[in-house]
Structure formats: structure tokens, C-alpha cells
Symmetry: C2
Subunit: 209 residues, 2 copies
């Protein structure tokens, strides 16, 4: 890897899916370059032909790494996991791995995309976050130790923290989800989560720092 | 495995996510029992307390296997892949695996959930399917051989066929997506895809057979 260029992350400071990838890089100690794509400015820089050539879904994040370009945050993180396995982000036991993936997929398929298109209708975003968090709270009560699944940090934690950040933006009442809240509070004190927070990225506007 | 009970699939004949799991079981030659959950009848049987105990997200599919209950189709399929590895549903090469996962995630996070809540507004469902298929068509032109990624059947094919079925239900113009159409036509002739089709499941109504 030493002779190769650093991975490049095309992301946006407040995109929860971009944040997932930033956390994964940070946990693995991988240096990377950030190319901010402002999804608000100019009607959305992800919609340009230039960015479409990077990611045909015209969404952030996308990552160029090892000579290829990847999209979809969970696919990116699993590629990083398979090519840079330490420290691992998926448990060794297949049942524990399944629990991690269930939590990730509830957030990545069952909450985030619906919340996102609901952004202009706060109540709608809240509805989908609440529905997903009710399920997550139930599952996490069974799977959690110090972190989402047992005591090791996993992809589930990487997905949880940015989704709680979204929930807070949409003023979801987190007192209904004590397990999620406890897990989040522990995680946000960890360097890899702190250093990658939307409030301190290269493209974070001054008034949100 | 011989002494253990057969896996049980809680699904619905027309649910594309249930179909994904049926295809995976069929490709691996795993016998399983189907417990149909009618997501239309009685206001949705997935919303009962009884089913909530099976899957707190109150969605199909869910699978009980090896003494645990799993939800989220991709998490289920990856658990099956990791515990019953032959024939494999993910390529050996990490870059190829990443391409498979990108295709799966575009469908599972970027199309299906949005199409689903758009079901009552056909144009909305069409919009999200078209947007996703445009990206997929572009990606598949680069990754496809006989199947979605090279010549081996993978999880990407498992996700593609049920999504094309959805597209046809919503009368999406498939002539715009020649690569997707070609791949789908090859796949639907394969036994594991045919035998698991929504038109021939235990809970398929007579008028849809």
C-alpha cells in the first residue's frame, strides 16, 4: 500500500453516510484525502456531470481507493474491512456478524433513505426515525454490551452515531430510546468519532463549528 | 446441521425482499419452511404483536435459523453465505465483492425502500426506480459478464431480478435499460429464480398464478 496514493473521500460534512466512512477510516488509522461535494450549493454539486462520472448514483459518499471508485457507504466500509482487516469492524462469530449487519441495514435501508426524502417534512422524517429506533432499541437491548454488539466497536456503531446525530437534528425525543442514547454517549467520546464529527470537517461552515 | 430444524422463512409471495431470500436458499440447495405473512390482509399481519416478537421492524422477511431469528434480507443472505459457503454468492476477489455489494446496496437502500413508500403514487415509485436503474445500467455495463458481476451468480443477481419484477409492476419502461434487461432475461430462466418466483409460492392467490 505504501507506494499507492491515499484514498480520496468525496463527501459532505453533514451527510451521515459520509460520516460513516470517515469513522471507518479513522478507526483503522487510514490516512485519506477529503474532496468536499456541497450537496446544497449550486443546486447540488453531486448532480454535475463531473461527479456523475465518479458516482452514477450522484450521491455522497464515494471513495477512490486501490485504483477503483466505490460508492454506497456500507459497500465502501466492507471493502476497507476486507483489505485492511485491523482493527476489525465485524465480529468473528457469524451470528454476531449477522446482528451487526441487521443493525446496519435497519439504519441504511430502513431509516436513512426515508428520513432523507422526508427532510422537508420534519414530521415524516421523525416518523421513520422513530419507527426504526423502536426496532433498534428492542434489538440493542439484546445485543449490546459496551457497544452495539458486545464490547467491540463494529460497523453497527459506525452506523448508529451518525443516525443519532440525524435524529437530534430532527428533534426526535431520544428519552424513549435509553439504550441507543447510552451507546451513543459512550461512542461520541471516542477519538475516531469525535475527529470525524460534522462540526469539524474541512467543509464545515464557520457558523456550525 | 442434519439434526437441526429446517430454517423458517416468514415472507410474502410478492415481497421483493422475501424473494431475495428464497433465491439464496434455492441457489444453495437449502430446504426451508415458509410461513406466509400477509402484509395486506387484516391491515397487515406483520403489524401484529405476535410478528413483532419475530421481527421488531415488523417487516418481511425474517428467518429463524440455527436457533436465532434474523431480519433484513441482505443480513440474512450474508449469514447464510458465511455459514453455508457453497456455492458462493460473493466473489473471492475484494474488488469484485465490492462491486456486488454496491449493486445490492443501490437496490436495497437506494431503490426498494423509496419505491415501497411510493407505492400509492405510481409516478413516485417510477421516479426512484428510474433513477436507480440509470445508475445500475451504467455500473453493470462495466461489471457484467453473463451475470451482474462477471460470469458467476452473486448476491447482485439475487437483488436485481426481484427489483426488475417490481419495475414491471410499476410499468417502468425497461427499453431504457438494455443491460439490466439482458441480465434479467438470462437469470429468470434459471431454476432457483423460477421456482421462487412470486407467481408460484404457497401464499400466491389463485388469480396471480
Amino acid at each position: 500500500m505504501a507506494t499507492q496514493a491515499k484514498p480520496v473521500l468525496y463527501g459532505y460534512f453533514r451527510s451521515s453516510c459520509s460520516w460513516r466512512v470517515r469513522i471507518a477510516f479513522a478507526l483503522k488509522g487510514i490516512e485519506y484525502e477529503q474532496k468536499p461535494i456541497n450537496i446544497i450549493k449550486d443546486g447540488g454539486q453531486q448532480l454535475t456531470d463531473q461527479f456523475k462520472a465518479v458516482n452514477p448514483m450522484q450521491q455522497v459518499p464515494a471513495v477512490t481507493i486501490d485504483g477503483i471508485t466505490l460508492s454506497q457507504s456500507l459497500a465502501i466500509i466492507q471493502y476497507i474491512e476486507e483489505t485492511r482487516p485491523e482493527p476489525r469492524l465485524l465480529p468473528a462469530d457469524p451470528k454476531q456478524r449477522a446482528h451487526v449487519r441487521i443493525i446496519c441495514d435497519i439504519i441504511a435501508s430502513g431509516i436513512q433513505p426515508l428520513q432523507k426524502i422526508g427532510e422537508e417534512k420534519v414530521q415524516w422524517a421523525q416518523h421513520f426515525i422513530n419507527r426504526g429506533f423502536e426496532a433498534l432499541e428492542h434489538i440493542l437491548k439484546q445485543t449490546a454490551g459496551k457497544h452495539c454488539v458486545g464490547d467491540e466497536i463494529s460497523m453497527a456503531d459506525i452506523c448508529l452515531v451518525p443516525q443519532v446525530y440525524n435524529a437530534e437534528r430532527f428533534k426526535v425525543d431520544m428519552s424513549r430510546f435509553p439504550t441507543i442514547r447510552r451507546l451513543n454517549q459512550t461512542l461520541i467520546e471516542i477519538d475516531a468519532f469525535k475527529a470525524t464529527h460534522p462540526s469539524c470537517q474541512p467543509d464545515t461552515p464557520d457558523d456550525l463549528r
